[in-house]
Structures are given as structure tokens and as C-alpha cells.
Amino acid sequence: MQALLQLTAANIRSFVRDRAALFWTLAFPLIFIIMFGAIFSGGGDPTRTYGWVDLDGSARSAELRAAFASVEDVELIDASQDESLEAMRAGDLRAVLVVPEGYGEAIDALVTAPGAPTSIAVYTDPTQTNATADTYRIVSGVLDGVSLAISGRGPAIVPEARALQTQDLGFVSYLVPSILGMALMQLGVFSAIPLVADREKLILKRLNATPLRRWQLVGSNVIMRLIIAVAQTVIIVGVGAVLFDVQIAGNLLLVGGFVLLGSLGFIALGYVIASFARTEDAANGMTSVVQFPLMFLSGTFFPIDQMPAALQGVARAMPLTYLADALRQTMVGGAAFSPLWVCAAVLVGFLGVCLLISARFFRWQ
């Protein structure tokens, strides 16, 4: 146990003192997030297109509609509740406002005698924090004005918040889990380089001349990488949350499970590379050959369904596609490219294949 801990500490020290490794695993993904985030988050989606669902059909509800329609930039699309929510889910509407049945009567009652305020339902996507905040600003402004006109006192109409997850993630919300997936991939794949270097420098051979067991050696490497994976996750998610308001909406256990599973799979891929690379230079070359297609053809920077059909087929063959897909689904409620269980199955299979290959071909000396 002491040996495992000491070796893990030694690995972490070696890693932290290696500027190139630090850059690729920690700085590089952050640069991506900050760069793309700055480019795409500022403008955002300016259109205030709301679905308008009038279940009351009264003069009062028509009055409210007119109040919303008079706000600058606001466009209202009338449709049934189901149609509207479907359109919002598909990304065509930023929010859906539902005027409940009996709204007119409730307002009429409030005009004659004070009472509890009535409400309208406001559907927004809480993962799109900027858009949601903007919607509530508009809604509050309109409702306050109308309330004042009706009762002259306190609020007569209040918004009732409803959450609806949409498939149309803000670009930064899309980017954060994608970059996390990419970072975990790189962390794993790059494990090949120190491994081959240690073998080339005969460190593995020297360790083999001590009572240290191989499982301790592999275990310490994996533990070290997983600790860094957690650090990466915290940093990337933290920067997304602090700088770009990307909130983690999903189940943390599920997110953690996919981070773990993905990291293990790509660390195993690192061992596969180390099985075939004889020199540190060769390992460097092979990691590049492996990581760049994974990075660019796995939907990291743009959604897979926007790729040409031929490349979509390639993307389906990339394990990173499934990790990034699972992370988007579990972290920010992204649209499923594959169901979660398929993602999990692909990643488990990928891990298994990599383990088999390295067990067969990895050389200690």
C-alpha cells in the first residue's frame, strides 16, 4: 500500500513538473473553452421568439398578448400547448407562455376585490441561463405593467416557472462537456508517452528488479490519471460555470460515472499505444495520429448531425463520440445522439478491447 501511494505521488510529481503534459491536459482545453466561449457567448441568440398558448380565449388574455407583442424584439407564435412545447424542444422557440383557463375571470375578480394573484406558466430552458434570465426580465416587465393597470396595488399576475430541456443547447453549453470529453481523451492517450519514456530509460526494468508488483505500477499510473481527470473536470466545469454560466443540470453520479469510464477507456488506449511505440518519439507521433481524428471527428466542436453523411459514419466509429455524447446528455441535458446505455456499452466495450490488446502486446522491457 505504501509503495502504491509513494509511486502515485511520484507519478503526480513527475506529471506536475512536466510543463508539456500540464499544458496539454489543463491549459489546452481551457484555452478552447475561453476562446470559443468568448466568441459565441456574447452575441448569443438575440431572437425573443416565444410560443403563445391561450387556454382562456378571453378579452383579458388578448389584452395580455397585446402587452407582450408591444415589447420591442418580442415575437409571439400562437399555437396549441403541445405544438408550442414541441417547437421549443426543437429549438425554434426560446420560451413558451401559457395563459391558463379561467385567467380572464380571475383578473375580473381581482379588479373588483383584492385577492391572491393569478399566474401564467413560463417555460424556459434553465440550462440556457442567459436566455432564461432575459425571458424572465421581459416577462416580469410586462406582468408588472399589466398588474399595475389592473389593480393599482401589488402584483396581480405572477410567472409560474416551468423548466423544459431543449435540444438546442447554447454553444458554450454544448462546448463544455465536449471539451471535457476531449480533455479526458487526451489525458488517457498521453499516458503512453511517460510509459514509453520510462521503459526506454529502463525505469520499468529497474522497478522490475524490486519487489514492486506490476499491478501496483499500473494501479499507480491509473490512480494518478484519475486524480488529474477529476481536477480537469472541476476546472473545466468551473470555468464554464463562472465565465459562461453553464450549469450542470444532470445527475452528478451519472456524470462522474461517465468521466471515470471514459478516462479508463482512453488510459487503456494509451497502454495500447505504448504497446506498439518503442521510443518516446514514436509514442509522441502515435498519440498525435490517434488524438487529432478523435478530437475533430467526434463532434467536439460542432454537432455530429451537421457533419457530412460520410463523416457521420466515421464519427459513429469514434469512442470519443459516445463519451462526449454521454457527457452532454448527463451534464447539460443535450440531445441524445445515442441513448445513454448505448454510450455506456460502447465505452465498456472500448475499454475491454484496449485492455485485451495491451495485455497481449505490452512489453515491460
Binding site: 505504501q2 509511486l7 513527475s14 512536466d18 530509460k201 529502463l202 528488479a209 524490486t210 519487489p211 514492486l212
Partner: protein
């Protein structure tokens, strides 16, 4: 010194139960190369034993089999009473190893590497003790990538001592060192001997083997050609000494051959070498002969045969080649 032999035969089984290392007919083949081709020897407790031979002689392969790093194709190797094939793990806990190349984590400091290796054994000597012993005090917080060649080698030896082993393997410990660093490593081996530890070292430096080793096995092409103390190895082959001087043109070989005691005459790089059983008589005859010519023998030297001569005689090649 234990295990003296009188005949030319390799001294297997001379040590019996006292042997710390016992090797019988060890073989290891890589493709067409017989790296180790029937090696047998024994090392007694407290001995400093040297495997001497040129690069590629099979020294490292032999040592790595004994360290449990490679398994032999055939033959028996017992180290500290343990069969290296079956009990490699138990063996590794009790031996100290310095590989031919100092294999060190480049980004860790001297102290960190020592603490790390100590943790593998769960016991042993502290980093502070070893740093003191190997005179690495000034470098204790230096990363190993910034150490000089000699310092790296000293650290490698320190790592070989971290578990306080009774048997230490040093593979070419002074290769690439400057004379001062080599001298200081020799002192360390001397101190190991004083502690009563057993040391098996390989070297292709004749002088190193002569200075450090109680007994030497001369290796070439995967075989041990001869085993014994330096004196045994030399006197077994060379009862005579050599008298050397710069060539004097007027003295031809017939004349030289006629000097008392001289058995043979050789020429080496403008030097005349007389092999003689009676050094005073030969020199007296030489001095009077050159005196008559009105000359002096330049660079006159009397030399006992060396391991170099032994190796040359055994293989027909110089060890340095």
C-alpha cells in the same frame, strides 16, 4: 580468500554450502546468439566477485538472470539459496541492483527517488543515511535529470543499497566516469566489503577488476574462460616476468635470446619485450651489452604479466578492442 583452486579448471562447487551465488551450466540464447553459453561459477559470502570481459561477452545477461530479470533457457542459478526461476520475487526483496544504465525518474529529486524505492521494500536505510554514504548531500533536492554522470551512478548505487541488501549486483558501475568519480566509487565498494556484504560486479576495466575483486571470472562470447584471484590468473599462465625497453637497433633478436633467463622475445610498438625467468641476470646482460655499444636502454621496465596479458593469451585479442 575462499575458494582457491589449484588447477586451471573452473572452480564450481568449491564453496559448497557457503556459496551466496551458485551457477551451473547457465544458458541463454537470443535468436542465433548464444548470449550465455554454459556458464558456471560460485560466489562466497563476503566476496567481491568480478565478471571481466569485453562488451557483448554475456556479463550483463548473466547478471540479469541472477537478478531475476531474465529467465535462463537452461541451467541452474541459485542466489541466497533461492532458485532464481521459481523465487524471483522473494529474491528481489533481498538483493540490491544497479543496472548498467542508471535508470532514474528524471523529474524527481535525489531524496524523492530514494524515499520512493525504500517504500517498495517497506524497510531499509533512510534517504539521509544513503545520501551521506554516497556523498550526495549537496544534490539532495536536485532533480536526477540535472545530475552529472558520476552523480547519477552514485545515486544508482545508493538505490541498490536502499533495502540494506546482503548481496549487491553492480553492472559496469564506473563506465563513463572520470578518474576521480571512479576512485570514489571504488571506495564505496571497499566499504561494502568491510561491511561483510557480497558484491558481484561486471567490468571491462582491467584495473578495476584488479583493485576491487577478490576473485575474477574472465568472460568472452558467453563463456567463462577462467576463474581465480588476480595472482592465480596471472601466475597460472605467466611464471615469467617481462623486461621492456625501447628498441636498440644494434641488438638483434638472436643476441637478445642469448641473454640468461630469456625464454622468448617480442616486439610491441617499437618496444622490445623479453620474457625471463631470471630478471636480475637478464638485466645485467642487457646493461653490459648496451654499455659496450655506448648506449643506454630507454624506458627500461620490469613488469609482471597483467590480466590484459591473460586475456590476450586466452582469446588472442586485447580486452580494450
Amino acid at each position: 580468500m575462499p575458494g582457491m583452486t589449484t588447477a586451471d579448471a573452473p572452480d564450481t562447487n568449491a564453496l559448497g554450502a557457503d556459496a551466496v551465488i551458485s551457477v551451473a551450466d547457465l544458458r541463454k540464447t537470443y535468436g542465433q546468439t548464444h548470449a550465455v553459453d554454459g556458464v558456471s561459477f560460485e560466489v562466497g559470502r563476503g566476496e567481491v566477485f568480478g565478471l571481466l570481459g569485453p562488451n557483448g561477452a554475456g556479463k550483463t545477461t548473466t547478471v540479469e538472470i541472477l537478478e531475476g530479470l531474465r529467465s535462463p533457457d537452461s541451467g541452474v542459478a541459485t542466489v541466497l539459496g533461492l532458485d532464481v526461476r521459481r523465487h524471483a520475487d522473494a529474491l528481489k526483496a533481498r538483493i540490491g541492483v544497479a543496472l548498467q544504465t542508471a535508470a532514474l525518474y528524471p523529474k524527481l529529486t535525489v531524496v524523492e527517488v530514494l524515499d520512493l524505492f525504500r517504500s517498495f521494500y517497506g524497510r531499509g536505510r533512510t534517504a539521509a543515511e544513503l545520501i551521506d554514504l554516497l556523498d550526495l548531500g549537496e544534490k539532495r533536492t536536485t532533480r536526477t535529470q540535472d545530475l552529472s554522470g558520476g552523480q547519477r551512478q552514485r545515486l544508482a548505487v545508493a538505490l541498490a543499497l536502499v533495502n540494506d541488501p546482503e548481496l549487491i549486483f553492480l553492472d559496469e558501475p564506473t563506465t563513463g566516469m572520470d578518474p576521480a568519480a571512479r576512485r570514489s566509487l571504488w571506495d564505496i565498494v571497499e566499504s561494502l566489503r568491510r561491511d561483510g556484504r557480497t558484491v558481484l560486479l561486471t567490468t571491462h576495466y582491467m584495473e578495476e577488476a584488479e583493485v576491487l575483486c577478490d576473485r575474477i571470472a574472465i568472460m568472452d562470447h558467453g563463456r567463462i574462460l577462467e576463474t581465480g584471484t588476480v595472482t592465480e590468473l596471472v601466475t597460472r599462465r605467466f611464471r615469467e616476468r617481462s623486461v621492456r625497453f625501447d628498441r636498440v637497433d644494434a641488438l638483434d633478436d638472436t643476441r637478445l635470446q642469448s641473454f640468461p633467463g630469456v625464454s622468448s622475445v617480442k616486439h610491441e610498438d617499437g618496444e622490445v619485450v623479453l620474457f625471463t625467468a631470471d630478471v636480475p641476470a637478464t638485466i645485467a646482460a642487457l646493461l653490459s651489452a648496451v654499455d659496450v655499444l655506448g648506449a643506454e636502454p630507454e624506458n627500461l621496465m620490469i613488469r609482471r604479466a597483467t590480466l590484459e596479458d591473460v586475456f590476450l593469451d586466452l582469446t588472442g585479442r586485447a580486452l580494450r578492442d
